[in-house]
């Protein structure tokens, strides 16, 4: 039960975050994007950049 609730919570959070990314993306686009290449995530090269 707890695991299922956790999964629902994570799915809701991911959905909200992905939608917020569209808003942030628009502001970033209006502002002018930061560079030509994909931005490395904070924390080093072990992390993803873009799918």
């Amino acid at each position: 039960m707890g695991k299922a609730m956790g999964r629902v919570a994570q799915t809701s959070y991911t959905f909200v975050l992905m939608n917020w990314a569209a808003v942030a993306g628009l502001f970033q686009f209006i502002k002018g994007h930061e560079g030509f290449w994909n931005v490395s995530s904070p924390g080093g090269s072990h992390r993803l950049r873009r799918v």
Binding site: S12, Y13, M18, V23, G25, L26, Q28, S45, R47
Partner: protein
């Protein structure tokens, strides 16, 4: 007025995430267009545009040599965009093995790097990829087989996100990505997918048009131009590329923000994609790509308008929305806890279990 805003916002949101997938299901059931796939071995040029990839370049090129495809039919081209970390030096030994390296002195971006590489591509088919992801040995063969069908102009492979145990991720970001792939698979069966996976996609060389400088989403613009030209851009789930799932939704957010920024840029660069008659997959493009840009504003409008509507169904809807955002907040707290844990794990182990898992999968 508030009721009108509420219903418009609800309709758009439900359409993008539920209605459109249901339409695709129905459409596929009645109007599927199978691809005449036949295994063949035309010449293939692999184009890899890189900036600073010193740590990954050896593994990537070795992965290309390990593909199950005749070496005599393969041409690997690495286009360097003024790297500063020694990537150019790391490539010297590969040049002796026949890898073509295209260098530029000034940094001009990925789109320009791809443009610089294309004149050196000699194969009928061009495979594009990123330095980060490894391809399964049979990936190229599976992609190329689709070009036996003359209606196919571009083929995208499937990116598999592996979790820390080396299995396909099923939670959070992994689930979101699986939903995306299900959509692409249905869109492909009907006609074309509005975009490709940057990690693995191939096109007919003759259909390539130089990219405008600064293009962010080459993996959307290239296939969409091909679709606009009348050919199909399909999804081949048997051609696999492997990557690690992001440890937290926040990292996925960073990537997604850039991708969505690229979608805004795409609409500015190629507004004809919004014109009926100019885009053969207008419904798919509007529902899948443009819809994702509109839904956040609809969610905001839905909540705001619902605050002024309290009777009957609206009361239930407000309760549902508040519950949903409370769950999202819990998800944020869980994610923060995971993030702290993963930071500790990363500090304790390098390379990660996922790196080994990906290497094992791509060797199979």
């Amino acid at each position: 007025m508030m009721a009108l805003i509420f219903w418009i916002a609800l309709t758009v949101t439900v359409w993008v995430y539920i209605g459109y997938p249901l339409l695709l299901l129905l459409w596929r059931a009645i109007g599927s267009r199978p691809v005449n796939k036949q295994f063949q071995e035309p010449g293939v040029s692999i184009v890899l545009a890189m900036h600073n990839e010193c740590d990954r370049v050896d593994a990537k090129i070795q992965n290309c040599f390990d593909l199950d495809y005749p070496a005599s039919k393969l041409c690997i081209i690495v286009s360097l965009d003024a790297p500063t970390d020694g990537t150019a030096d790391a490539l010297k030994k590969w040049e002796e093995r026949g890898v073509k390296v295209v260098r530029t002195a000034t940094r001009r971006g990925k789109a320009a790097a791809i443009n610089s590489a294309m004149p050196f591509a000699t194969g009928d088919i061009v495979l594009f990829g990123d330095a980060r992801q490894n391809l399964a040995p049979n990936a190229l063969r599976e992609l190329v087989a689709n070009f036996a069908d003359p209606s196919v102009g571009a083929v995208s492979g499937e990116l598999v996100l592996l979790d820390e145990d080396g299995k396909e991720s099923n939670e959070g970001v992994g689930m979101y990505w699986r939903y995306e792939k299900a959509l692409r698979s249905m869109e492909s069966a009907i006609r074309s997918v509005p975009g490709s996976t940057g990690a693995i996609y191939a096109i007919r060389r003759e259909l390539f048009q130089p990219l405008p400088a600064g293009t962010i989403l080459d993996d959307v613009l290239i296939p969409m131009r091909i679709v606009a030209g009348g050919k199909r851009a399909i999804f081949e789930p048997a051609a696999l590329a492997f990557d690690r799932v992001t440890e937290t939704p926040e990292m996925e957010y960073q990537k997604k923000r850039r991708t969505l920024m690229g979608n805004y840029e795409l609409l500015v660069r190629a507004p004809e994609l919004l014109v009926p008659g100019r885009n053969p997959i207008l419904v798919q493009f509007l529902s899948h790509k443009v819809g994702r840009l509109i839904v956040p504003w609809c969610l905001l409008a839905l909540l705001m308008s619902n605050l002024f509507l309290h009777h009957g169904f609206y009361r239930l809807s407000l309760f549902g929305q508040i519950l949903f955002y409370l769950f999202a907040m819990c998800g944020w707290l869980i994610s923060r806890r995971k993030d702290t844990k993963s930071e500790l794990q990363v500090q304790a182990s390098s390379p990660t279990v996922q790196d080994s898992a990906i290497a094992a999968v791509t060797r199979e």
